[in-house]
């Protein structure tokens, strides 16, 4: 599973990465992380606002920090 965090390095973006890593550890999933910081590469995704969470190239959330159970749902394939 490839998890991408899109964000320019703001506090919210780092917080999203931290939360997602916690969920991955709790669920015991094997996942690869990438934190995309370059504006041009972020803009390749159909989002307007950061931070955003992309799981296997599908944008799950943008512009806010989701709850941990929401993240868990997406990672389980929901």
């Amino acid at each position: 599973m490839l998890i991408k965090i899109l964000g320019t390095g703001c506090a919210k973006c780092n917080r999203l990465e931290q939360l997602t890593r916690e969920v991955v550890a709790e669920l015991g999933i094997a996942a690869e992380f990438a934190h995309i910081r370059e504006m041009d590469r972020i803009m390749e995704y159909p989002i307007m606002t950061t931070p955003a969470l992309v799981v296997d190239e599908v944008v799950k959330v943008a512009g806010r920090i989701p709850r941990k159970d929401e993240i868990a749902g997406w990672l389980r394939g929901g």
């Binding site: 506090a11 989002i47 307007m48 606002t49 920090i65 709850r67």
Partner: protein
């Protein structure tokens, strides 16, 4: 040596009276509002009006709205600006957004209103709004041909999100709190109850404070009252409790979180109390404001139950993030303004910008462009200029130019939209800021509104006409 001590004292005095007088009833609620907007309002709710299919009369006001609602700090402005530009809304609304966001957000406006007066805040929002849209449209017209080449990506805008009613009510209550604490109207200031707290030492204590922090109407230095000392102490306590109480609120709501919130309410109520030193002690006055502030705080509590606990934790966490990001800059900025004030002679300011002339307004703009101050620090600086005798016209010119233009923002803009467009934007902002200063200055000096409206219409018409002619020449 003397001058050094005087400078240091000036800085500390300015800081003390700033913390006591301006921060509490305006900036504290404003930080909570900014946190709520950032955590509770889905950004898509506003950006969906910016899509490439949206008509002009929707997308330009929406861009301005996005500026004032979503962007309280530059880290939000940059991705949103790039997003609006690259995903199809086009150059015009993107520029409107970029122009309006720093001047039109809730923190900047409420702070301007309290420090400089409501008329400056209103002038700031009206001028920023109309000029933001104007400059956006001119930019879109100038670079029309480049625009046609760019393909809009509508996908980013379709996501449907609405602002829930409970969020609107919650933010409205917070805004009411801000207004009740700061607005200077009679029924809020009217005394309801008066009493005296016996404390014979009060006169001596106030006299000692006056010695340390002398009030001087000529330079605009405000003294420090006993009430102010108490409020600064309470602010310190809030800071200490909030460090863990709000800093770690996103993992759990702890007892310190509640202590922080209770202290905040107590501080706001204390700030809304009228306290005066008399011969035998402290005269306490309860006003409409003293009642309204705690009542509105109490009205917030039942509303929080309608949200997820997570949303409320996010709200407090965002609020604290804004405080940590902006407050230290403000403290340093205000201290330095106090130091600088010692060295500037009022005559210099009056000579350069004491009257509403073209040169004076240009000086205000140039100062705004070349001096880079962090977010909101432009307000205490403007306040210093005003008290040193700057005319309101050049002051508005400075206030318009400073947050919009700085070397840093020019570089970011150039990276996103290219050098030619960025410098055109800079030129337009300088031109418009000067015009804004001249107009506001003339209005303050008593020129009739109709004459000014005609002048502004003429100015814009001339500008648009010139641009049209240039455009047609190029086409041939």
């Amino acid at each position: 040596m003397d001058i050094l001590i005087a400078a240091l004292q000036g800085g500390l005095a300015s800081l003390a009276s700033y913390l006591a007088a301006h921060v509490l009833l305006c900036l504290v609620p404003a930080f909570f509002i900014a946190g709520a907007l950032s955590a509770l309002v889905p950004q898509q709710a506003i950006t969906r009006f910016l899509g490439p299919e949206a008509p002009k009369w929707v997308s330009y006001p929406a861009a301005a709205g996005a500026g004032s609602l979503l962007a309280v700090c530059s880290c939000t402005i940059q991705p949103l600006f790039a997003g609006i530009y690259k995903k199809g809304a086009g150059l015009g609304p993107a520029i409107t957004f970029l122009f309006f966001a720093p001047a039109g957000n809730i923190l900047a406006l409420s702070y301007t209103g309290v420090a400089l007066g409501a008329d400056f805040a209103i002038a700031r929002i009206v001028l920023a709004l109309s000029f933001g849209i104007g400059i956006g449209m001119i930019m879109a017209m100038l670079f029309r041909r480049d625009e046609a080449g760019r393909q809009g990506d509508a996908r980013a805008f379709v996501e449907d999100a609405k602002v829930p009613g409970r969020t609107l009510l919650f933010v409205a209550t917070l805004v009411a709190l801000l207004i009740a604490g700061t607005l200077k109207v009679d029924w809020l200031a009217a005394p309801l109850w008066q009493g005296t707290l016996a404390w014979p030492g009060a006169v001596d204590a106030q006299a000692a404070l006056d010695r340390w922090v002398p009030a001087d109407a000529a330079t605009g230095a405000e003294g420090l009252s006993l009430q102010g000392v108490g409020l600064i102490a309470l602010l310190g306590l809030i800071g200490a409790a909030a460090w863990r109480g709000l800093g770690q609120v996103d993992t759990a709501v702890s007892r310190l979180t509640w202590v922080t919130l209770a202290l905040t309410v107590l501080t706001l109520a204390a700030a809304a109390l009228g306290l005066r030193v008399t011969g035998d002690g402290l005269a306490v006055t309860l006003t409409g404001r003293t009642l309204a502030v705690p009542l509105l705080c109490a009205a917030l509590l039942p509303q929080t139950r309608r949200f997820d606990a997570w949303d409320m934790q996010q709200w407090l966490w965002e609020t604290w993030r804004f405080v940590k990001m902006i407050f230290p800059l403000l403290v340093v900025g205000v201290f330095l303004v106090g130091v600088i004030r010692i060295f500037i002679r009022p005559e210099w300011i009056q000579a350069v910008a004491g009257a509403n002339t073209l040169l004076a307004n240009l000086a205000g703009v140039v100062f705004g462009v070349f001096m880079y101050f962090p977010t909101l620090v432009e307000v205490p600086i403007a306040r210093m200029f005003l008290s040193l005798g700057m005319h309101p016209g050049p002051l508005i010119a400075y206030l318009m130019a400073d947050p919009e233009l700085s070397l840093q923002s020019i570089l970011i803009t150039a990276a996103i939209i290219g050098k030619l467009k960025a410098w055109t934007y800079v030129g337009l902002v300088a031109l418009f800021s000067t015009a804004a200063g001249l107009t506001y200055g003339a209005w303050v000096d008593g020129t009739s509104v109709w004459l000014l409206a005609a002048a502004v219409a003429g100015f814009v018409g001339l500008l648009v006409g010139t641009l049209q002619i240039i455009e047609r020449r190029k086409a041939c």
